[in-house]
């Protein structure tokens, strides 16, 4: 039985707040950058260029970033550099919104995000060990969701009533408390499951091949891609419809659409983590994936404003499941290897590719056939993902007492 020493309450709270502040700091990036640059007199072509550069960076650096985090022993130092990079990117955007600094900021943020997701999971694993990882990831997701939801509200108000620039200054400022949490999270309790890095190259290569041909990894990567293919464009299209049908109240309703799922994630994530450890991964995966096509079909036929908000609660369910299960399954698949972060990087790449293609697919369908068909297309992707989970995805939970 691995039974790592129980982490100190200080360390647990430190990791809670790290997730909270980091999620806060991540909220200002993404679509809000387009609003900000529009206000700074950027042309649509330039904005499109800057945003796609960020997307491409975030995609191509998933796997290298994962491998990098695996290779570096001091995961907390990695997290510290990642947070610093996010802060710098926010400062560059806030202070100097011209082409070159914005490009640097986008690349910096894209890469740092790819490093932070696996690094935080690795720090969590180091803190609590394999047996308690599900529960810990649930807590991470809870605090991240609270941070995201609060930040979306506060930053939305700042952006509307103060200035778009102030959003990025606040983002940079939030990186400071995030950094200050790191010293509390001691990794002395790390269970000795990691193989020493000085293993022979042959072993390393065969280990890598074993990982890359692992059926669980391949199927879950495909499931992750389909999840985001279905999910990523759903809120943007629904929100665009809301702007159309609810006009002056639209901003408020869309804000609710962003905050409601975060509230659900905050409530459901710890339960998801615990349940995954108790009864296994597959039932939760089915729940998370199946709620995608249900939401998409309902959105296609019931696009009334408050119905959309209610349906966003379903998005919280699938979001909680994905956020907890992705690193958890990466841990299942790489048990006994030194490839946890690489595996998260692979899943991250699949998810990012799915998300990027989602916007293209939905935009194309909406253009050709209207929003209803776009939702139905997204529902089809979600259904395909659900079927893949149901019929191809093996249970990855290892009963912790027998393995390792």
């Amino acid at each position: 039985m691995p039974a790592p020493d129980v982490p100190t309450p200080r360390a647990r709270r430190g990791l809670d707040l790290l997730n909270f502040f980091l999620a806060d700091a991540q909220t200002g990036f993404g679509p809000f950058v387009a609003v900000y640059l529009t206000a700074r007199h950027w042309t649509q072509v330039e904005i499109g260029f800057a945003l796609s550069l960020g997307t491409i960076t975030a995609m191509v650096s998933q796997i290298p970033a994962g491998a990098l985090v695996d290779a570096i022993r001091g995961k907390r130092a990695v997290v510290a550099s990642g947070i610093t990079a996010i802060g710098l990117a926010a400062l560059l955007l806030g202070i100097w919104p011209i082409l070159l600094p914005v490009i640097v900021a986008q690349v910096l943020h894209g890469f740092a995000s790819c490093v932070l997701t696996p690094a935080i999971a690795a720090v969590s694993l180091g803190l609590v060990g394999h047996a308690a990882l599900g529960e810990r990831l649930g807590r991470n997701a809870r605090f991240a969701a609270v941070g995201n939801g609060l930040a979306a509200g506060v930053m939305g108000l700042l952006g509307s009533y103060v200035s778009a620039r102030s959003v990025f200054i606040l983002t940079a400022a939030l990186c400071v408390p995030a950094l200050m949490m790191l010293p509390f999270i001691d990794t002395h309790h790390a269970p000795p499951t990691r193989r020493a890095p000085e293993t022979y190259p042959d072993t390393q290569r065969s280990e890598l091949i074993a990982l890359l041909t692992d059926r669980r990894l391949l199927v879950f990567a495909a499931c992750a891609a389909l999840f985001h293919l279905s999910n990523a464009a759903m809120l943007p299209i629904a929100a665009g419809e809301l702007t159309q049908i609810a006009s002056s109240r639209a901003s408020l309703i869309i804000a609710a659409c962003i905050v409601v799922p975060q509230a659900v994630v905050a409530l459901a994530s710890p339960w998801v983590g615990r349940t995954a450890e108790r009864i296994g991964r597959r039932p939760l995966l089915l729940l998370g994936w199946a709620s995608l096509p249900v939401r998409a079909v309902l959105l296609a036929f019931l696009p009334t404003p408050w119905m959309v908000v209610a349906l966003q609660a379903l998005s919280g369910i699938s979001g909680a499941v994905f956020g907890v299960m992705m690193p958890l399954i990466a841990d299942d698949v790489t048990r006994g290897m030194h490839r946890f972060n690489l595996c998260i990087g692979i899943f991250g790449l699949a998810a990012a590719a799915g998300a990027t293609f989602s916007t293209t697919l939905a935009g194309w369908l909406a253009d050709a056939r209207g929003d209803r068909w776009a939702f139905l297309g997204l529902a089809a992707a979600g259904l395909a993902g659900t079927l893949l989970v149901a019929f191809a995805m093996p249970e990855t939970r290892t009963t912790t007492d027998t393995q390792t």
Partner: protein
């Protein structure tokens, strides 16, 4: 082989020759017009006061009631460069749910003389909200036109 070696420098010389005169001509003109900024003789400067013309890209657009409505993000012009329509980006929260709608140029009024540089849309939100989104530059743009001015070309 030796013939080729001879020809190549000759070609380089002839190729470089037409470049030489324009490269030398700007130097005398710049020395004669040292009082004003460096400009070729083919152009001159005409100052435009801030109250005569204003920058509009990324500018806020208000509705008839003076409430913030959108931002002007692009302008569609005809073959003569006359504006036909403006693309407005409106709605959304934190960049989610924004819609771009093209409105006829005549539905906007500009006030460069005012310090607010206000751009006013003469249509209400309810009048334009049902319009299809402006997405693709390659396709016919759905431009919202007031019923009276429908079918008319751009501003006279």
């Amino acid at each position: 082989m030796s013939r080729i070696r001879l020809i190549v420098p000759l070609l380089l010389l002839t190729a470089a020759a037409p470049d030489a005169p324009p490269a030398s001509t700007p130097t005398p003109t710049t020395t004669t017009t040292t009082t004003t900024p460096k400009l070729p003789p083919t152009v001159a400067l005409q100052p435009v006061a801030p109250e005569e013309a204003m920058a509009i890209l990324g500018h806020r657009v208000v509705g008839p009631d003076g409430k913030d409505l959108a931002r002007l993000v692009d302008v569609l012009v005809d073959a003569n460069g006359n504006p036909v329509a403006a693309v407005l980006d409106f709605g959304g929260f934190m960049g989610v749910g924004n819609r771009k709608i093209a409105v006829h140029w005549t539905t906007l009024s500009f006030d460069p003389a005012a310090t607010t540089h206000r751009i006013t849309l003469t249509l209400t939100l309810d009048e334009i909200k049902a319009a299809p989104e402006y997405r693709d530059t390659a396709k016919p743009a759905p431009v919202v036109v007031p019923a009276a001015t429908e079918q008319k070309p751009g501003p006279k």
